[in-house]
């Protein structure tokens, strides 16, 4: 008997193994029919064409070789454009600053009578230095103008102060603002440390509480899952209202309909199981798109 280890039922006639073997041997001698060669050729051609179609579709989907370089080339182009723009903006700012300084010097020149001709010379000599420290010079100029405004009327105008002094003032201003920032940062750090220290016991307590809540919520979830059907009578009525045909309906269409109904009733697990049985029963069937997700 082929593959059967179980004892036969009492109602089934017993046939000796030797007879079964003899029957099978005789059958193999008798049954020699083969499919036509034409049939073989057709089937093999279709199978090859099917694979060729897949290969062609794959080839159609494959992008050209240069597509792979596209992201890198784009990134490079963006970087180049960015660098170029940055450089131009910086260059422009520098030029503007220089022009402003020259204009300021030109305005200041008449009022520098008697201050000697050293200052302009010094400014010229410091020009490269100033260019390198353009923002610093800007700060210096601001400090200078402040000094001019605040200077007592009796004193000679600080505008007469030599231009090279501006970087020094700017440095001081920077240092002052740096100190202020550091101080501010330190205060913030202290404040946050204090807040963290204050919050840590609370957090631990909170964690414990959260753990308690978590377990409570998980137990609640479990309880919920049991209680849910009774808690939502509407859902219950929807699930109950679906009249299901007997499992594994007779026709594929009815079966698929049944699976859809199960899914619509929220019984996804059962729907998936039914679908698996369907696929085993009709292995060559093409599943509708809406049921593919259930797989």
């Amino acid at each position: 008997m082929t593959g059967s280890d179980r004892p036969p039922g009492p109602e089934v006639p017993e046939v000796p193994e030797s007879t079964i073997s003899e029957l099978q041997a005789l059958y193999r001698e008798a049954a020699q029919a083969e499919p036509d060669a034409m049939l073989d050729r057709n089937i093999l051609d279709v199978a090859r064409a099917d694979l060729r179609g897949v290969d062609e579709a794959r080839a159609r989907r494959q992008p050209p070789w240069w597509r792979g370089w596209l992201p890198a080339a784009s990134a490079l182009a963006i970087a180049l454009v960015g660098l170029s723009l940055t450089w131009r903006v910086m260059d422009q700012q520098e030029r503007d600053l220089r022009q402003e300084m020259q204009a300021a010097e030109a305005v200041r020149a008449p009022s520098l009578e008697g201050a000697g001709s050293a200052a302009p010379t010094q400014v010229t000599a410091d020009a490269p230095l100033l260019r390198d420290a353009a923002p610093v010079a800007e700060l210096g100029r601001r400090a200078e103008s402040t000094a001019i405004k605040e200077a007592p009327p009796g004193l000679p105008k600080p505008a007469a102060a030599p231009a090279p002094m501006a970087p020094a003032v700017a440095d001081e201003a920077l240092q002052t603002s740096g100190r202020a920032e550091k101080e501010d940062l330190r205060q913030r750090r202290d404040a946050s440390a204090a807040a963290a220290a204050a919050a840590s016991p609370a957090r631990q307590a909170g964690k414990l509480e959260a753990g308690g809540l978590g377990s409570a919520s998980s137990s609640e979830t479990a309880a919920d899952s049991f209680a849910r059907p009774s808690a939502s009578p509407a859902a219950k009525s929807v699930a109950g209202s679906v009249v299901l045909p007997p499992p594994d309906a007779a026709t594929p269409e009815a079966w698929l309909k049944q699976i859809r109904e199960l899914r619509a009733a929220g019984r996804s697990a059962e729907a998936a199981q039914s679908l698996a049985r369907f696929r085993a029963r009709y292995p060559d069937s093409t599943l509708p798109d809406d049921l593919l997700k259930l797989k």
């Binding site: 008997m1 082929t2 593959g3 059967s4 179980r6 036969p8 039922g9 109602e11 089934v12 006639p13 017993e14 046939v15 030797s18 007879t19 079964i20 003899e22 029957l23 099978q24 005789l26 059958y27 193999r28 001698e29 008798a30 049954a31 029919a33 083969e34 499919p35 036509d36 049939l39 073989d40 057709n42 089937i43 093999l44 279709v46 199978a47 090859r48 099917d50 694979l51 897949v54 290969d55 696929r279 085993a280 029963r281 009709y282 292995p283 060559d284 093409t286 599943l287």
Partner: protein, 179 residues
């Protein structure tokens, strides 16, 4: 099948060469007419080709193939109004177990030509009820176990076993001079 699904063209040729003759004979002895067998044979292999991309290993390939064949046969019988042959369960069909005589060994009548005996066997197979014939062919041609026959035909183990036993018993009865 997996190799073919993954794009290896030669894998199908191997599968086809391995199963073509047996599947064809299974169909031929089930329908009894060569044209119908040809048609179904082609349709079944087309189904296999169509199912390639979605193929998953859920059973032995032979079981899977004969499941498709069984479904196709049922469709064919339904279309030709012969479905009743497959809807009758073997046990219901048979009633009491037949009391076939045991082969009479050692009789001088066993001089029958083996070829004639083989011819009678084929006739006896065709005379079997559809489910029993199918069980016999699945076991003999497909090489399926009882469990696999149950899976391929969508019946349980016991039903498949019962059908197979009845088939052997009937064939032995028809060929009383066997052995």
């Amino acid at each position: 099948m997996l190799a073919w699904r993954d794009g290896e063209a030669s894998a199908f040729e191997v599968i086809y060469a391995r199963h073509r003759s047996r599947l064809f004979r299974y169909l031929l002895h089930q329908c009894g007419r060569r044209e119908q067998a040809d048609e179904m044979f082609q349709e079944i292999w087309m189904s296999v080709i169509r199912a390639r991309s979605a193929y998953e290993v859920t059973a032995k390939f032979t079981t899977w193939l004969y499941r498709i064949a069984h479904n196709r046969l049922i469709d064919g019988f339904r279309a030709r109004g012969r479905l009743a042959e497959f809807e009758v369960d073997a046990a219901d069909d048979e009633g009491d177990p037949p009391d076939y005589p045991a082969p009479a060994s050692g009789q001088p009548e066993r001089l029958l030509e083996r070829a004639q005996l083989a011819g009678r066997l084929l006739a006896a197979i065709e005379a079997l009820p559809g489910p029993q014939r199918e069980a016999f062919l699945l076991a003999t041609e497909g090489g399926l176990t009882v469990e696999e026959i149950g899976n391929a035909t969508g019946t349980g183990f016991e039903t498949a076993k019962s059908r197979l036993r009845y088939a052997y018993a009937r064939l032995r009865g028809e060929l009383g001079d066997l052995q």
